[in-house]
Amino acid sequence: MIQTTGLTKRYGRFTAVDGVNLSIPAGQIYGFLGPNGAGKTSTIMMLLGILRPTSGSIRLFGEEYHSGRLDLRKRIGVVPEKQPLGMWGWMTAEEYLGLFAELFRVPEAGRRIDHLLEKVGLSGVRRKRMAEFSHGMMQKLSIIRALLPDPDILFLDEPISGLDPFGVKQTRDLILEENREGRTIFISSHILSEVEKICHRVAIIYRGRLLAEDQMGSLLGGLSKDREIHVDLEGVPEDLTRAVRSLPFVLQADAAGNTLKVKVPKSGDYRKELSAFLIGRGLVPLAIQEKSLSLEEAFVTITQENIGLFTGIGGRS
């Protein structure tokens, strides 16, 4: 759906984005991660046609894309992090959506606006001035605005930033629902736990360079050196960890409260053997699960491993 080749953006001598190759397949939820100043915003702005790349190319829906392709912009919905109210505050939600429906030439705009307002639960405030809206309501309204032209891809920049837990859940559900309906979603976020919950594919950018891009499972699995199994017990006897460590397949064993944490080689699944060993010692495993690397851990690992690329000291090349 979106492909970039050698995408580069320089501001004077500073290279904000350095030869980034992205591949965003249709129908997926794609997470675009990076710390502040990593080049995320510059990349997104180039993908949206707001910034012109210094070099490299972007293919959107199979066509060459640049800032002059206003026809292709209709197929992209964008939810920016900040909602500029300066110009729109005097408008009601209905008027605001009406303006954008007209800009996008949305057929049967009234019906579409009604449907989307209903979908996010804003029907009751359609005639309220936007200046009176809460952050969560503005976020929903912004998503509706982006969905008005029924875009093929939806860009969300920090979609849950500043939302309360209820708002976070509603936004997450909305994203998942839109994706189920076939829409490709591109999310840029700092909240990695949330990205991990919903994204199929992730890319990590750091200091302008793309460090990793893969399916979520492959990325996390590929980074884990070992497997970690967590076993919940009614209680962990004092000599248990030492006994577990003596098992041939165990690399490390520790106890944390009533949980036994066991590291085993990545090559095999040792949950059955571990369970049999515990039962043999008269213990009842309440829950036994494999703990995978979190996205946050993966993010830290990848960025730290690549620090050498930028500083010239250590790190993976």
């Binding site: 046609g49 900040k82 300066g86 800009l103």
Partner: protein
């Protein structure tokens, strides 16, 4: 219709709606009409059996002396040869022109800073359609006000047994063209800077500069200042709406209609060139604050 034209039309319609719903335009128009009325009634009181004598009315005395000091007696005689309406037209139009130009420059800078232009650019609009919408709004408001002003002055003239005169209409026809070029310079100033205050400062500085260069070509200046003004005027005149305005009026005085029409066209060409420059600047700098 292209996406850019469609977006321009939609945004311009909203802009006009905003303009008509807010008090600023009406205040500027009321001020212009009031000034116009005061000048017309003052003129009527400055006429005695020997004709117009600006010394008969304190307002015209002040104006007449100032203009005579700045531009010489001939300019003043020509200005009032057909009654007060040429001057009235300029004076009554100035508040609206300044309001429209300054408010658009300020608004452009403000909305760019808060990210509203960027938000519009996510849709099928771009910075160019955004500033073209401002231009359309300002031109339509200009035409609306000029129509109202002409009607108002026609009634005022009739009440004072005066007529508007042909020069009034030459000047009237010039104003939308000169305004378009001035509004284009406003847009250009907005694309150069990142905030509304500096955009406004650049625009006003440009206008003052054009005015000074224009005034420098009259007898007010002498010696070194006159020499400098002449050189500056020769370079700057091609970029100044005031130059084409002056050339068109000079052509009208001697019934040089082709030259008059040419200067109207040149005003449009100037406006288009300034807008094209604005387009490329905005494209290079982007709509992000």
């Amino acid at each position: 219709m292209s996406h850019r034209l469609h977006a321009t039309r939609v945004i311009a319609r909203r802009r006009i709606q905003e303009l008509l719903l807010s008090p600023g335009f009406y205040v500027a128009a009321a001020l212009g009409l009031l000034l116009g009325y005061l000048l017309v009634s003052g003129f009527a009181r400055s006429v005695d059996s020997s004709g117009f004598d600006f010394r008969l009315h304190p307002l015209f005395d002040l104006l007449g002396r100032s203009l005579q000091g700045a531009f010489g007696g001939t300019v003043v005689q020509k200005l009032f040869a057909e009654g007060p309406f040429q001057l009235v037209l300029y004076v009554a139009f100035l508040p609206v022109l300044l309001f429209l130009a300054a408010s658009s420059v300020y608004r452009f800078g403000l909305e760019r800073k808060v990210g509203a232009v960027e938000l519009l650019s996510y849709g099928p609009a771009d910075g160019t359609s955004y500033f073209l919408a401002f231009l359309i709004k300002d031109l339509l408001a200009t035409l609306l006000y000029l129509a109202a002003l002409t009607g108002f002055l026609a009634v005022t003239a009739a009440l004072h047994n005066l007529v508007l005169g042909p020069t009034f209409f030459y000047c009237l026809a010039l104003l939308p063209f000169a305004s378009a070029a001035i509004y284009a310079w406003g847009i250009f100033s907005s694309t150069l800077t990142d905030n509304s205050a500096s955009a406004l400062a650049v625009f006003l500085a440009l206008m003052v500069f054009f005015l000074l260069v224009f005034l420098g070509s009259f007898t007010i200046a002498s010696g070194y200042v006159a020499g400098l003004s002449t050189v500056l005027a020769w370079i700057v005149r091609w970029f100044s709406p005031l130059y084409y305005w002056d050339q068109a009026l000079r052509a009208a005085e001697v019934s040089g209609w082709p030259l008059y029409a040419l200067n109207l066209v040149l005003q449009l060409v100037l406006g288009a060139a300034v807008l094209a420059a604005s387009h490329f600047i905005l494209r290079a700098r982007g709509v992000r604050p």
